[in-house]
Amino acid sequence: MTDQHHIASAFDRDLESVQAQLMKMGGLVEESIRQSAKALKTRDIELADEVRKGDRAIDTLEEQISLDCASLIARRQPAASDLRTVLTVMRISSNLERIGDYAKNIAKRTEVLAQLPPIEGAAGAVKRMAKEVQNMLSDALDAYIKRDAALADEVRHRDLEVDQMYNALFREFLTFMMEDPRNISSCMHLHFIAKNIERAGDHVTSVADQVIYLSTGEMPEDPRPKGNGAPYDIDTFQESDE
């Protein structure tokens, strides 16, 4: 599909440039998740601060990408795969920006958590979860570059694991809090961090959805796989209570 060049080579250059920016943004977001998880684990306030500051670059890129896409639509009237590319770039960049925000949020909470006594093993579990989301994101972006719908579909299904990890952590934090009420403050922060990572996973799934739309022209029909027994489920509560 893309082996041929546009007759207007400037169109090709514009499309390539906006996608290059998206990839750069993807790289920044990946890094920012990794660094925030690392900062949490190592209680590194400085690193966390860097992550917070780094989010500004992501936001700027996102703005730049929307402007470029608007100009592309206005000036080139893209159709078919070009149209899907532009639409996809816009949506993915907005997803990435959200993920970046979550990373920043994690960093913020890390700075608070660093003042509190550590919870044994919790940070490691959160980091593993973050690692998984980071891998998913990396694969989703790979799938984007390769226009690989199969890889994207696989990424969507891996979101299930993240959901399950979140559920497990939720239960763990409940246990910690019941054991010692002094843990409640830390656990609440850790829970929010886990929740943020879970949401970031959802956004990565959305990125994978876009990749599938880009390469097939259709949005995936089956609803996004959801981890059974979300914490909102009353049954889960009762189960974990026992």
């Binding site: 599909m1 041929q4 007759i7 169109f11 893209p78 078919a80 070009d82 149209l83 899907r84």
Partner: protein
């Protein structure tokens, strides 16, 4: 459930205005149209797109036998309008053209008054019994052509004195006046400025309530804007025919994709 499906099918069949099967058009030795089969629906705007020389205009002209006037032109295959073969020897092309009107690339009003431009078709086909009826046809046609309000006070002025966009709408109104069932338009906006183009496009959108409209256009954006069905021609073949939405977001054939994304000329 079964009844419902059959009912839908019946409606679909009734909706087909032109049914063409394996149409071939030759200009002398040149094979201009190859194996084109397409169903043109009633009360729908169908657009033909494709690079220059792909045969879209030729095929359009085959639909009202305008090709007959070109020496050495031969049409094969089946073209039926409401189930009747339009190339049957018993069909008089003059009668066919009253049923299948045509609007051309360049606005071509007759060098007569606006009134006479519209009244000419109804007069030669005997559609009006008296002056009052003719007046009525002229007014209705000009209203359908979205031109009535602009010209009602100067019907006796020459049609050639109007602006380009008005002239083209006059030509559309003129075609509408003979009470056609299908309107063929051969790049109707290529000589117009964007405002006039928008007015003609708006008109086409209104016309589809009463007519089946087929439009040949070089502007893909125009095809995307006005039509519900799009056919892509390339090198004399009908490459792809389908819903305009699908063609412009997710075409099946790589040649269509390449053309509408601007990769082949």
């Amino acid at each position: 459930m079964k009844d419902n499906i059959e009912g839908r099918k019946l409606v679909d069949q009734m909706d087909v205005k032109f049914e063409t099967r394996d149409v071939q058009v030759f200009y002398g030795e040149t094979h201009a149209i190859k194996d084109v089969s397409v169903d043109i629906l009633d009360k729908t705007v169908t657009s033909f797109i494709g690079p220059s020389g792909c045969g879209k205009s030729t095929f359009l002209r085959a639909l009202n036998r305008m090709n007959d006037t070109i020496p050495g032109c031969r049409v094969e295959g089946s073209l039926t309008l409401d189930g009747e073969d339009i190339y049957d020897p018993k069909v008089d092309p003059v009668q066919l053209r009253a049923k299948v009107g045509m609007v051309f690339q360049k606005p071509n009003p007759f060098p007569k008054s606006i009134y006479d431009n519209i009244a000419y078709g109804p007069r030669i086909h005997g559609l009006a019994r008296n002056k009052a009826e003719l007046d009525e046809i002229v007014e209705m046609s000009l209203r359908r052509g979205a031109l009535w309000d602009e010209v009602k006070d100067r019907l006796q002025e020459p049609g050639t004195g109007l602006s380009g966009g008005q002239q083209q709408r006059l030509c559309i109104a003129r075609s509408v006046a003979t009470a056609p069932e299908v309107l063929l338009m051969d790049e109707p906006c290529s000589a117009l400025d964007p405002i006039a183009t928008a007015q003609v496009e708006e008109l086409i959108d209104e016309l589809k309530q009463n007519f089946s409209v087929v439009i040949v256009t070089h502007s893909m954006q125009q095809a995307a804007r006005v039509s519900q069905k799009t056919a892509f021609f390339h090198l004399g073949y009908l490459v792809e025919y389908g819903d305009t939405d699908t063609i412009f977001t997710n075409p099946t054939d790589p040649r269509t994709e390449s053309y509408i994304t601007g990769r082949i000329g």
